[in-house]
């Protein structure tokens, strides 16, 4: 690891700052970006960024004060000292119940740096080639696209002796596709987060999006159904599973936003929810969290019952958990029905929302329908307009999900999710 003089200077200042504990994260990002209008280059960008994030802690009887700040990578010693002194003072103003920082797993504290070689040029080339090779037609094609490829390197050091570094690729593609017929043109929007370019999956997903585009050109207004069984088979389903994930985060539980207790039945009886230390091609595959804790595989829900919480050191300790961590990747499993079995009877399958949301506080779900397939009496009709709404506290009782799974960046979730009895406001 190359010597980082600015970081060393900052560490020396913190060690003599008078703080009872401290932590520093050195975040470095190298990025390449490409912006395309159709297949022409709108703009290309490079970036090379570094900044330090510092937090200092002070003990006050049974309380812990803390304060954080960014420290510019080009700050000189005087500026670093001024920031550290300011934080020492600020930390006295906000006092929370006492907790401790993470400690190293290895005796010497300096744990093995986990690095993944990131070749920005090669990854960028893969994305550009994939976009150039999309199966476009005269009536369905790419409107515009933005490609972001970066190498993230995060080094976390704290006063307890932890010194860990993670390096990993993180990419994002935003794509807009058009479909047209008889002088009318529509667009569909997609955003993909991932580690590197999975050419096959990206091509398959964008081809599927173009198919949706064709169908959106032939939609009828969504009828006022009052109630319908909703099927989610796109990334909108992530919001449903994030509701379960968030409700088991120690911060949500401690603050009273979630009242879920371990042992409670909180999900369909067949659901299993786990954290995953590593998920292939996730954009968040660091081995350690932002507080220096090792990320592990852990079961959060089993058989529909809450098993344990996950989350930050502070709130997890308040709930009596000493070995928690901030997870990035999650896996949902347990579905016994096939996707085909779930698509039985009458249902509304929404494949394009304006913005599908699940409110973490209330459990309310809502989204405007841009494209859905209404399956009724053995017929399938593409529809658009209107909205779906409901509340997870009720909908979870009739929730079913498929054995087949599909990955959306950091989430590996059932490919098909069915929520019975959702309210549907028609477009007319």
């Amino acid at each position: 690891m190359a010597e980082n003089q600015a970081l060393n200077r900052l560490l020396n200042i913190l060690k003599t700052s008078g703080a009872d504990a401290w932590e520093v994260t050195d975040v470095q990002e190298k990025g390449w970006e490409f912006y395309l209008i159709r297949h022409a280059l709108d703009q290309n960008r490079v970036k090379e960024l570094e900044s330090f994030r510092v937090k200092v802690y002070r003990k006050f009887d049974d309380c812990l004060g803390s304060a954080g700040a960014p420290v510019p990578a080009d700050a000189d010693e005087a500026e670093m000292k001024r920031i550290a002194a300011g934080l020492y003072q600020d930390a006295a103003y906000v006092r929370n119940p006492f907790y401790t920082l993470n400690k190293p797993e290895a005796e010497n504290g300096a744990e093995a740096a986990e690095s993944e070689h990131v070749d920005l040029k090669a990854i960028s080339g893969d994305f550009l080639a994939t976009i150039s090779g999309l199966p476009e037609t005269d009536t369905e094609d790419l409107n515009s696209c933005e490609i972001f490829v970066s190498e993230l390197r995060k080094r976390y050091i704290n006063s307890e002796g932890i010194d860990v570094t993670v390096t990993y690729p993180s990419s994002m593609v935003e794509a807009v596709v058009n479909a047209r017929k008889d002088g009318r043109e529509i667009e569909l929007y997609r955003m993909y987060d991932c580690g590197t370019c999975d050419r096959e999956q990206l091509t398959r997903d964008l081809a599927e999006t173009m198919r949706y585009g064709r169908d959106r050109l032939t939609t009828e207004p969504t009828p006022a159904l009052e109630k319908a069984d909703l099927i989610l088979s796109t990334d909108a389903a992530c919001a449903v599973y994030e509701y379960f994930i968030d409700h088991l985060s120690s911060g949500m539980v401690y603050r009273g936003i979630s009242d879920w207790k371990t042992g409670d039945t909180v999900a369909p009886a067949e659901m299993k929810l786990q954290t995953a230390a590593f998920l292939p091609n996730s954009s968040e595959n660091g081995a350690y969290d932002s507080e220096g804790a090792r990320i592990r595989d852990l079961t959060l829900i089993d058989g529909g019952k809450a098993v344990r919480y996950w989350g930050s050191r502070q709130f997890s300790q308040y709930l009596g958990l000493e070995d928690s961590f901030i997870a990035s990747n999650f896996v949902v499993s347990g579905g016994s029905a096939s996707a085909e079995e779930l698509r039985q009877g009458d249902w509304l399958e929404v494949v394009e929302f304006s913005d599908f949301q699940v409110d973490d506080v209330t459990g309310d779900i809502a989204g405007e329908i841009r494209l859905a397939y209404l399956h009724r009496d053995g017929k399938t009709v593409p529809v658009s307009g209107g909205s779906v709404s409901g509340n997870m506290n009720e909908l979870v009782k009739g929730m079913r999900f498929s054995a087949e799974r599909r990955q959306y960046d950091t989430l590996l979730i059932p490919a098909v999710t069915r929520l019975d009895g959702v309210t549907v406001t028609g477009a007319v």
Binding site: F34, G86, T423
Partner: protein, 481 residues
């Protein structure tokens, strides 16, 4: 007092000008945007307290924009040193050449664009503020926020509300930006602040969170009157717990200024961002000069048309702030435009080129988006409705410039029957519709207007920037679900 311009940026300016000179030997146009913005955020509740010298817009760094052979390229970096100008120059050149070689190998051609003009221009703006974030007495502020949180718990209980928590949050940012080219030297410094009170409540079966917010282009003096917002937060919390579900359907409604602002933002804010015209992604391009709303609808956009969190002197591409009349008496007049899109469309830029941070690309973005006032009173508007709702509180919205759909998720609807509020409340509400239908249905507009700057705006699902929006009460017809 005036918010003083960053001494750090002042010190970097000569080195950055050297960098521009070196790059000009290789490129036909070169500009640099350098930033040094500081601030604080503190949040106090019964369960958790925090303080940080970081807000969503604090940053320090620079981005270089260069132009050659019809193509614009950018390099963003931190850690610039006037002692290592040539090293920075060589690094930027090397990295961009690497990209050019990849693009050539991939057979990707530029979207040919003309060079930006570089006329002489100087701006030095230090805007007024009573106090500076970096000099604020945080001990005193934390104490005041703690009092609000404690008082919220007590007053909520007195009102018969089962309080889980009451949070008071304050953030204040001192923005300093410098835009340089061979001939331009623009520097601005201003403060903006945001405060929020949230009440987390339950009735044993359901949990709700209410919030009230305040914002302004000012320093931490904004928080001196924050406690006055507490009764509103508690009143809303009580209303939410009493709310029922709406029966889906089309209703006559009155939108409060906050909801009016959300409509302005989602309907013809995003709808006339002209970088979307370049891509053929906005229906608005075909409707300039045509009717998109009723005669009562007039709407402005620009950093100069209100004083709030995004009322700057120049944008992130060095274009002076503007005030554009987007819709005039129901007729769509023009859109808003960043500098490169203006070149491509052959129009003048409007001062709406904004970046999430120095390290992000500039896009056409909103600043203050506001409906003009009318001549009705709220009382007259309520009296005119036989069955409908007074809509208050926004949760989120989503744009759809290509098809003019609109999605707004709203907090509360207060039922109106035969011209009177009945006391019945519905929540939450998904308001959907076709933008010209919605604006075409506007039949009454109130005399007063308010602007709100506590929100952020994304482009698609990313690129978050500060925006403000608002207007008067509007009477319209919408679908609620």
């Amino acid at each position: 007092m005036n918010a003083p311009f960053s001494p750090y940026l002042t010190g970097m300016a000569p080195g950055l000008k050297q960098l521009i000179s070196l790059l000009r030997e290789q490129y036909d146009y070169v500009s640099v945007l350098a930033t040094d913005s500081t601030g604080f955020q503190t949040s106090i509740s019964q369960k958790a307290k925090s303080v940080s010298r970081e807000t969503l817009t604090t940053e320090r760094g620079a981005v270089v924009r260069v132009y050659r052979n019809g193509l614009y390229s950018e390099a963003a970096f931190t850690g610039f040193s006037p002692d290592r100008v040539r090293e920075t120059f060589e690094k930027i050149s090397r990295e961009l050449e690497e990209q050019f070689s990849l693009l050539e190998a991939a057979g990707i051609k530029p979207y040919e664009t003309a060079a930006l003009p570089d006329g002489e221009r100087t701006i030095f703006a230090e805007m007024e503020t009573e106090r500076l974030p970096e000099a604020e007495n945080l001990a005193g502020l934390v104490a005041r926020l703690s009092e609000i949180s404690d008082l919220g718990m007590k007053k909520g209980a007195d009102m018969g509300i089962q309080m889980i928590d009451c949070q008071a949050r304050a953030s204040s940012t001192h923005v300093c930006k410098m835009f340089l080219t061979e001939k331009q030297d623009l520097r601005q410094s201003y403060t903006y602040s945001e405060g929020m009170i949230a009440a987390l409540v339950t009735d044993g079966e359901r949990t709700e969170m209410s919030y009230t917010a305040l914002s302004g282009r000012c320093g931490p003096e904004l928080f001196d009157g924050m406690a006055e917002k507490l009764p509103e937060a508690l009143r809303i919390a009580k209303d939410l717990l009493a709310a029922e579900h709406v029966v889906p359907g089309e209703y006559d409604v009155i939108t409060s200024p906050e909801v009016t602002g959300l409509i302005a933002h989602e309907a013809f804010g995003h709808g006339v961002e002209m970088d979307m015209f370049v891509k053929g992604r906005a229906l608005g391009a075909d409707y300039i000069g045509k009717r998109v709303g009723s005669d009562r609808v007039t709407m402005h956009e620009g950093a100069l048309c209100a004083v709030d969190v995004t009322s700057y002197a120049f944008d992130d591409e060095g274009i002076p702030a503007g005030d554009v009349t987007e819709i005039e008496n129901g007729i769509l007049r023009t859109g808003i435009c960043d500098a490169l899109s203006a070149l491509r469309l052959g129009v003048q830029p409007t001062g709406n080129g904004k970046r999430e941070s120095f390290s992000h690309k500039a896009y056409t973005r909103m600043t203050n988006t506001v409906f003009d006032s009318g001549n009705s009173t709220l009382e007259e508007m309520i009296a005119s409705i036989q069955k409908g709702y007074l809509l208050e509180g926004m949760q989120s919205g989503m744009e759809d410039p290509k098809h003019w759909g609109i999605q707004c998720i709203l907090d509360r609807g207060y039922e109106i029957i035969d011209g009177k509020l009945t006391g019945k409340i519905v929540s939450p509400l998904v308001m959907t519709g076709y933008v010209p239908d919605l604006l075409g249905s506007v039949s009454m507009v109130s005399r007063d207007r308010e602007v709100f700057g506590s929100g952020y705006c994304g482009k698609g699902h990313k690129e978050w920037v500060k925006v403000a929006d608002g207007g008067p009460y509007l009477k319209a017809k919408v679908r609620l679900g």
